[in-house]
């Protein structure tokens, strides 16, 4: 038994050393990637670390990443814009990100793409995607709180540096190898048009209002105000019909933004887009052609909103 315990102790010591080494390597890679142009794998690190010096930062999930073209907004508004959205992330991750970002370096504007039912209670997938906040576990207190909510044992698992980088190895390698050249899209990822257009469907979303999300939203609004950032909410088009506007979570969202005086540019069920399935890749995402059409109607509204805010 003595032999077993000696070997176990040696293995444990080697593991701690290897784990620490892995952490250092990833830290070095992350540091290097901060100097690379913004892309999927470094967008949050750049955003949270104050690496984006643009006037407007676009935050959201895949719809934001595929729908907002920074260069077109820049040309019209005369502002510098970057799209820091990330596929698959949810409201919680984005809210914590904005909260942390404005404390580091506050842009003039944050354009936050959401869906109408913003305050729908988080599902397991959204909780799981809080992994995107893991890199800020030590530096941002709110990130730490939310990462720990992934599971009761999360705070113990976060003692491992390798665990903190779980699932990020290939992405980092990919960006290290291919992401040095600036593609000029500033974070926008055009979705290729597909031959098959989505079919119109009606969805019935569940009503599950989460007051905690509303409270977090208020926190985010307050922190952006303190930092002098103008927060603008946007909802881009979707090819479907649903009960989204009959839900409590949607009603609460509109009531709250109204009371907090936060502008909402809502194109969710815009009739023009509902007549053009060829502008969509699937029922939730516009293709590149659809994104350009969307920018045509969105930018004038954004311009008006910014002008009104200045008055």
């Amino acid at each position: 038994m003595k032999k077993f315990f000696i070997y176990a102790a040696i293995l444990l010591a080697l593991l701690v050393a290897a784990d620490y080494g892995v952490g250092r390597v990833f830290k070095a890679i992350d540091g290097k990637l901060l100097s690379y142009p913004i892309d999927y794998h470094n967008s949050y690190e750049k955003t949270m670390g104050g690496g984006n010096s643009e006037d407007m930062i676009i935050i959201g999930h895949s719809r934001a990443r595929h729908h907002y073209i920074p260069t077109l907004i820049e040309d019209s508004l005369g502002l510098s814009v970057v799209n820091a959205a990330k596929d698959g992330t949810g409201f919680l991750t984005q809210a914590v990100l904005i909260h942390g970002m404005v404390q580091q370096k506050a842009p003039k504007y944050i354009l936050w793409e959401v869906r109408p039912a913003v305050f729908l209670k988080a599902d397991n997938r959204e909780i799981d995607r809080l992994t995107d906040l893991m890199p800020f576990y030590d530096t941002d207190s709110l990130s730490r709180v939310w990462v720990q909510r992934r599971s009761p044992s999360e705070k113990y698992k976060m003692l491992s540096w390798a665990y903190r980088n779980n699932g990020r190895f290939w992405g980092r390698m990919e960006q290290m190898l291919t992401g040095k050249e600036d593609n000029g899209r500033k974070g926008y990822a055009p979705a290729k048009p597909s031959k098959k257009h989505p079919e119109m469907k009606r969805y019935e979303y569940e009503d599950n209002y989460d007051p905690e999300r509303a409270a977090l939203f208020v926190d985010v609004v307050n922190s952006t105000r303190r930092a002098g950032t103008q927060l603008i909410m946007a909802i881009s088009p979707q090819y479907e019909t649903s009960n989204a506007y009959e839900l409590e979570e949607t009603r609460q969202f509109y009531a709250l933004t109204d009371s907090l005086n936060i502008p909402v540019l809502d194109f969710f069920y815009n009739p023009e887009f509902l007549d053009h399935p060829e502008w969509f890749k699937d029922h939730t995402h516009l293709n590149s052609s659809g994104a350009e059409h969307y920018m045509e109607v969105f930018i004038p509204e954004l311009k008006r909103t910014i002008a009104n805010a200045k008055q």
């Binding site: 070997y7 040696i10 293995l11 080697l14 593991l15 491992s160 779980n166 699932g167 290939w170």
Partner: protein, 470 residues
Amino acid sequence: MLFNSFVFLVFMVAVFLLYWLFFNRWGKAVSNGYLVVISYVFYGWCNWKLCFLLFGWTLVTYLIGLGIGRRNEKNDKKGARWLSGLSILVGIGALCYFKYTNFFIDCVASVFGTTAHHLDIVLPLGISFYTLQMLTYTIELCRGNMKVEKNPVTYFAAMNFFPPLLSGPIGRAKDLLPQFNNERSFDYDLVATGFRNILWGLFMKVVVADRFGLYVDAVYGNISQHTGTSLFVAAVAYSIQIYCDFWGYSLMAKGVAEMFGFKLIQNFNRPYFAASLREFWSRWHISLSTWFRDYVYIPLGGSRCRVSRAYLNLIITFLISGLWHGAALTFCIWGLLHGVFQVLEKMLHLHKVESKSHIYRAFRVAITFVLVTFAWIFFRMPTFGDAITAIGKIFTQPGALFIDSNTMLQMALGFMVLFAKDVIDEFWPNKCQLVSNRRVWVRMVTYVVLIISILLFGVLDGGQFIYFQF
């Protein structure tokens, strides 16, 4: 409690240390009592109420076992058979109630064209496994192949031993009970082997199976949106996923048992190297296939009867095996396909691959893999209609492959490790050993690489093991 959860890691370290440092030193009775307690803690972790069912069924088989033992002493074969039959009735009856009641309601409702009203029945975890395991005790007692176990603590410790409780391997009472009747001393080699098995099993589960699972779920979760090419890749990916998932679980169960000084059956033997369906079933889920062979196929008459009857026996056995896996038409079809494939193999005299040509064998391995993968489509799909749609699209609607580069790169990494390990184990069993290398430093480095890989590439806190649902 899942083997791939953080809670289990803490549980395992604690119960392992307590076992070897204290309880096992205080004698066999205390040691077995301790194993009973920790087994119930393990089993009841998520739902303690299920412990009553496990306890009840173990008690029933224990008492029936005593009864059979008494009748055997009196040479009352008929009485012993009656009691053995009673245990089968109770065990299979409970299994049918928990597993098949709602399926039966669905069938009746569809026959009469009415709406099915399901009963609120929770399927107890592992019931399919521990029911079969305990039936081996009463059946073998009745057959006179083993002695009755009179000590209730030993019986409960053996039959409720936690590593194989939820998802196998399905142990035989005559293999398990003697181990619990012996004094156990700390065997470094066995414990180290157990640790290695846990590590490999965990790697296979979280790095390979769960990563493949992400792709499979993305494609099979939305069949209408995906092309035939993507569905084909998902079908192959599912074959790898289910193998690594279940093999990983079995290996971990075996490893945990070994760390406590017990040996369980090797449940998998590189099944995708099988050159026929018959060989596949001698390599896949060995504990279940031998159970069905010994307690269903042979009692039906096996192959020692008319040829047509032997074929029918084979089909019936696999149909029951399909139904054992799940209460759905898709599982029945899966079982039926395996039965029919094997009958065809026998009819065409293809079940024995005696040719020494490597090319021929490789060809047969590929054909077997394709057939098994085809059958897995029915196994994985929620409905028969979905399975038919997927198969139809595979053959008629090729198109662009759905690619998630990050997931696919990690799938490739996992597959390479799996393939290398299986090839070495199959063709050069004692060469290129890493985890079992003679040199300590090679073993240590391999352990560290495996653990860091699990932390870096694993889908941690992922879903349950696939076989839990059965």
